[in-house]
Amino acid sequence: MIIDLIKQPWPWYVAGPLIGLIVPLLLLLGNKSLGISSSLRHICAACIPAGIPFFNYNWRKESWNLFFALGICAGGFIATNWLSVPGPVTINPATTTLLQQQGVHDFTGLLPHDLFSFSKLLTLRGFIFIVIGGFLVGFGTRYAGGCTSGHSIMGIASLQWPSLVATCCFMAGGFVMTWFILPYLIRL
């Protein structure tokens, strides 16, 4: 049955092109360029502008982006509750072994509960992974002028070299964190 196939995890060669098709979909639906980190700026402009010039603009004209972000939430709900069978994410056993050695023990879901849960939020490790990590994502994407969708997909696909530079820096930052810093943070 097709529904059983859909409920399995999708391989990269199905998921990647579908993600790529979101770009022409948004262009044709309303001349919108794919990008998600901007929604964080619009939320600041709408809720806590605090007289900061960077947040002084008509965010209502960009409200499509907030609907898009809300849609991603809804899509996450739909996919998890109706289009999936629960179970661990099948990753390379070498990665599992490495993470176990570093101190990750929960491999039952999309995220390890020993790092990401409300009960861990007030531990030093939980605070770093959830609060500091989130802060770096928000600060860094806005400073860089976009995230994986806005720069890496939309930007590179429209042949904008600053987006290629930004994407190389995303990867460089990720490698430095994963290889040289994260092993110590997980052990906290």
């Binding site: 098709l21 964080l40 609060v131 500091i132 820096c169």
Partner: protein, 137 residues
């Protein structure tokens, strides 16, 4: 309001694919940065190629949006924030295992703790707005 419903639907499709391809999983991001799987590179790479071909087709045939507007893609101008901000985001990406899109998808997928990640990311964006004039660009 009504004209925004279509973007809600487009976002839902995006969210569904993000979950079904497991790119919102912290484990997948770890696997990617440890160079132990092709999955994430395949997803991002084939997404870029599909988007690139789509844009070429739109430009080649001068397709219009459904409002009959000419399709316009604004140019991104280089500034050093692309580098410094990019590195900072990379650090956060590897810690949280999520970029902004996946944070929203994680919330919908039943990880309410990702709401805290989102609030922290909003705080980070706000801090950038506050400090913008002091930072090198």
């Amino acid at each position: 309001m009504l004209k925004n419903i279509k973007f809600l639907v487009a976002g839902s499709l995006f969210g569904i694919v993000l979950v079904k391809s497991q790119v919102i999983s912290w484990f997948r991001i770890q696997e990617m940065f440890h160079l132990q799987a092709f999955h994430m590179y395949g997803v991002i790479g084939s997404a870029i190629i599909t988007a690139m071909l789509s844009i070429l087709i739109i430009k080649r045939f001068e397709l219009k949006s459904i409002n009959k507007e000419a399709i316009l893609i604004p140019d991104k101008k280089f500034h050093w924030g692309n580098v410094y901000g990019g590195l900072i985001f990379g650090l956060g990406w590897a810690i949280t295992g999520a970029c902004p899109g996946p944070i929203f998808a994680q919330i919908g997928s039943g990880f309410p703790v990702a709401i805290i990640t989102l609030l922290s990311a909003i705080a980070g964006t706000w801090a950038y707005g506050l400090l913008r004039d002091e930072l090198p660009h």
